[in-house]
Amino acid sequence: MASTPPTLLEPVVTGAARPAAPKPVRRRRTALVGWSFILPNFVGFAALTLIPIVATLGLAFMQWNSYSTPEWVGLDNFRRLWASETFWMALRNTAYYAVGHIPLTLVAALGFAVLLNRKLRGIGIFRTALFFPYITSLVAVAVVWNMLFSPDAGPVNQFLHAIGVSETPGWTTSTTWAMPAVIITSVWRDLGYYMVLYLAGLQTIPGELYEAAEVDGAGPWARFWHITVPSLRPTTFFVLIMLTISSFKVFDLVQVMTEGGPGRSTLVLSQLIYREGVREGRFGYSSAVALVLFVIVLLVTVVQFRVQQRGEK
């Protein structure tokens, strides 16, 4: 273990590793100075993130409508959740979204990054164009895409008609196609950001590797698979983690685009948390759902870390 490089899960603790501890007084002073440096940030973090998270943990086992005194109900919230058809639907929809959104965004971002990683006149325009969706107001994105996907009058279906598709999908008016429509929109919106991350990663690959491979007779595909992809491993890992977290907590796009509909076909977990908590005032139950979401994201992320660690050995 000592020989492996430190990872995000094992922060570097330089103080503890230092041999021969100095005098206790000086040590305490050093610690206080250290604390005072992180205090401003920590106070904000504690007030806005840590305390609410810990409170959520407790609330998941209570009944509370934000006005009454919280009442301990043990596992009641989880029992209700287990029996709720809506919860399982939201869980399935969230997984569906993640399974569509993560690989598609990853592949699209990598593809565009490789395409745009060359010195060409005006390449900046293309890179900027692909980054634009990410900095555009999400509400505008959702409303406009909803119109593009309109079953009768929308340009998407008009285009499909023009190329000979007779049975065009109903997109956001169909329970089957609503989620694909949301996924397409989210990929379009997010790919610019991850493309920039990949572009940065591509710049760090030494050119000699490609030259050497070319001398050895490797074609473009072989170079991509055996040099580019392995060299981008750390970037891919970071992109994967960020995509996973953002996929599981998706809320805004779905809320504006379909409001979880038609019916409950695009209802995701974070929407359920919002509805049960803010709208219905069942903060205990909503905290229980939030806790489940937290555990899922934690598990998926830990698995990804493990896989990454194994790959590095």
């Binding site: 305390i51 006005y67 809506t86 008016t173 509909g261 038609p262």
Partner: protein, 422 residues
């Protein structure tokens, strides 16, 4: 080291809680010249003239009180914003209740102060829609507006129609809508426009067939759904899916001449009057009673009152009660009637003020439309209303986009309401 961390966290938490507790004082606010400041939650202050009219009128009669509007700009999300504010212990004095479902939610959570003493002092018979606010024998809000649904029609598009608009049945309405539909694509004029809200179909049917929207048996909605879907199929109204994805506004459909008829609430009267006076469009419009299930019977429609309530945590509860008495009583009613809005309190003077508004239709059909025999509440009030509302909305979507047949959708509604709402 660990205990240091724990101590630091504990200290930081204690500090924060102290800071948070110091946030709001409980002293009533006053202006520099000694007036009591009354805060009032409302939506879209700039584009909803009734609030300014009520505030100005009240301040003129009560010079010691100054009202400070708490404007919630996103009118569509008013309920959610107010819910969040109240959950955070907000102390706004007067709370405007946009609809009865939200009212029931706040009242059931104990966030509103009882107004039964105020209600006991007034002539309750003159307050339309007051009954709707009675909850467990107590009143927590008093209505100031009582909107109900009528049928708007475009006079120019209907001038050749040979129908008795004052006594329309749904069958006649559907035939009329089909005959009024003309053109295609950009020049298409629909016979009627059904907005995407579930109430357009569900509340109408519930009011006219005496069905119970909380009951769990929804077969009474069948005819109304079949009629609406048939009109869509015939091309006489815009498909629900298109209206929903394009976020179509009912005003642009009607005032833009894209739909000849429009079932809608009386609040739309004020908007039409204002826009026409401002020269935004020149639609010649009229109003007729809502079509009925059978001909010749009483006019039954559904309505939704808008009310004022007092926050239980109000800083100025006394002044808030003074305002509510004024705004929901004869003076407030006359004030909003002059804007073309239908007040909850009505007497001869108020009705005269309403009829005298410039541009208000005064033909016999309109008179009949504005005096319905029975106005049923859009959604019955109970602690289940909110949960049932969510289910009815979801299943409404599935029926309207054609994912489920009417029978299957209504059966699912009943099944879900019975199993999920307890």
């Amino acid at each position: 080291m660990k205990s240091t961390i724990m101590k630091a966290v504990a200290t930081a938490t204690a500090l924060l809680l102290t800071v948070a507790a110091c946030g709001g004082g409980d002293e009533p606010e006053t202006t520099s010249d000694g007036k009591t400041v009354l805060t009032m939650s409302l939506w879209n202050y700039a584009s909803t003239p009734e609030f300014k009219a009520l505030i100005d009128g009240f301040e003129a009669d009560n010079p010691t009180i100054k009202i400070k509007p708490v404007d919630i700009l996103a009118g569509e999300d008013y309920a959610e914003k107010l819910t969040t504010m109240l959950a955070g212990g907000d102390q706004t004095d007067v709370l405007t209740m946009k609809n009865v479902t939200d009212y029931a939610r706040y009242a059931n959570r104990g966030q509103l102060a009882s107004l039964s003493d105020e209600v006991a002092k007034v002539d309750a018979a003159k307050y339309r829609g007051l009954d709707a606010f009675k909850l467990n024998g107590d009143y927590f809000a008093v209505p100031y507006r009582q909107d109900f649904w009528v049928l708007y029609y475009n006079k120019a598009l209907l001038k050749d129609a040979k129908v008795d608009l004052a006594n329309l049945t749904w069958q006649q309405y559907a035939d009329l809508a089909k005959s009024l539909t003309t053109g295609a694509d950009a020049s298409k004029v629909y016979g009627t426009y059904h907005h995407t809200w579930r109430s357009v179909i569900q509340a109408t049917a519930a009011a006219q067939t005496k069905g119970d929207l909380l009951g769990g048996d929804y077969t009474f909605l069948k005819n109304q759904y079949s009629m609406a879907l048939d009109l869509e199929k015939a091309g006489a109204t815009m498909p629900w899916g298109t209206a929903n994805t394009q976020k179509i506004g009912y005003d642009s459909m009607f005032s833009g001449g894209k739909a000849a008829m429009l079932p809608m609430g009386t609040w739309y009267v004020a908007k039409l009057l204002t826009d026409i006076a401002a020269g935004k469009h020149k639609t010649e419009w009229g109003i007729a009673p809502m079509p009925q299930v059978a001909a010749g019977g009483p006019v039954t429609t559904f309505g939704s009152p808008t009310a004022f309530a007092v926050n239980k945590k109000a800083k100025n509860a006394a002044a808030a009660r003074t305002f509510i008495n004024w705004a929901t009583g004869p003076k407030g009613a006359t004030t909003i009637a002059k804007l073309g809005l239908y007040p909850a309190y009505t007497d001869d003077a108020v009705l005269a003020a309403f009829g005298a508004v410039q541009g208000m239709p005064s033909d016999p059909v309109a008179k009949k439309a504005l005096a319905p025999d029975q106005v049923t509440l859009e959604m019955p009030i109970s602690d289940k209303s909110s949960d049932v509302d969510a289910i009815l909305t979801e299943e409404h979507e599935l029926i309207m986009v054609g994912e489920k047949s009417v029978d299957a959708g209504l059966a699912e509604m009943g099944k879900r309401v019975k199993s999920e709402v307890s």
